[in-house]
Subunit: 136 residues, 4 copies
């Protein structure tokens, strides 16, 4: 059986975007993505969908860190600063670890620690267990 961290390597879309799950603990996860040419939109900055993908993987890791399958119901992302080339980090905190409807906040920052975007998301936690054993 895989760990949670290994399980999320099967997220093809996130993997193709270069998202890496760096750390996952109960209630906390951290991921990164290097913004390169291929992440840019027509305006020459990182596409919102790329930032969302990074934030979504961090959400999924923390929301599933309890071992129960948890999906994103709704997510609200606010873009504060444009992201250029370079590393972007996502820190996800499960602010409210509810049995059914947990609430997670994800902050995206660049290498200098400047806040790029904030995502908040409500999840829906199912009865079924994830097919994982352990976190990292």
């Amino acid at each position: 059986m895989a760990t949670l961290k290994e399980f999320f390597k099967a997220d093809h879309f996130a993997a193709e975007a270069g998202v890496e799950l760096l750390e996952v603990r109960p209630g906390y996860a951290r991921a990164s993505m290097e913004v390169t040419e291929k992440h840019l939109n027509a305006g020459g900055v990182c596409q919102g969908g790329a930032l969302f993908t990074l934030a979504d993987l961090a959400f999924a890791a923390v929301a599933n860190s309890c071992g129960k399958l948890t999906l994103s119901v709704t997510a609200n992302i606010t873009f504060l600063r444009p992201a250029g080339r370079g590393m972007v980090y996502a820190e996800a905190v499960e602010v409210f670890p509810h049995r059914r409807i947990p609430f997670v906040e994800v902050k995206l920052t660049d290498e200098s620690g400047a806040l790029l975007a904030v995502l908040t998301s409500s999840g829906y936690r199912k009865e079924s267990d994830l097919p994982v054993e352990g976190l990292e």
Copy 2:
């Protein structure tokens, strides 16, 4: 000078995800994406970030259809049904075409017309003109 439709071909991230801008008129845009293996998350359904990318391009097209550079400030996406392999369509309508803070709604549907997700987004419209001439 390019048309708006051509301009958005330079969105590398959306292009790599297979997003195509099908139609753009003042106040309306439509885009598509074929969900394939590479769009799937660890749960075997289309990653939320891929759906967001499709919706974001449709947002950008309609929000910029007036010719002024318009960015997404905040976006709220609600996932209603998981999307499997196949075509997904995004229809974006500028519900409130404000001079500074327009409001756009995007609906994502699958081939059968079933609603997959709804995104609403507030934009910020700048004074500067987009370097485009015409829409399509």
Copy 3:
């Protein structure tokens, strides 16, 4: 046993704000509120919380129109035009009538039909029945 419409008369906060539930059918509800002096904020326009209260009652009516107790998990409201004195109407549509996590959209308009605000909300539907019989 009361009807759903009667049940919501026990919403003290909405009643005090002058919210009236005009109509409720499966998947649809309509409510009104007259904006008077007491609804205004320090800027002289209708307080966002008053508009939210109106929208929330319309949400609650439509989300509970199936007879199962349904709560608001998260709501996103976008203010498009300031509301002055006069009638405001809320139309709520259950866009996605899910067994657990329904999704509702509420549009607020003034007497002239101008769109004032849009609220979208995800609910959480419990197993328990509402203590009501019939809708209106």
Copy 4:
């Protein structure tokens, strides 16, 4: 000329709901509301609109603490725990103090410090000065 704190006493709707602005500093505001019989909804807990009103006043205070008129464009509120009778507190932090589109997070807690709801909101900052002198 009034201080900012005095200015917000003219928010009739918030005042009628019992909202009090306790503190306002650059980038931070705190407000309170006592939940009584009149704040309850048909389910016997504090109406979402009452909590929104409290959060909205705290948002307005912090967003206007720079002296420029700032309106709420869009607000996202997530309800985590039902609020019963008793005091509720709102702490608002301007997470991103942008010249045009600031971003604010408001946390609502009860007397025991338990988190009841989280509101995030993007504002729109105008050129015009508020008719106030000083904060408190």
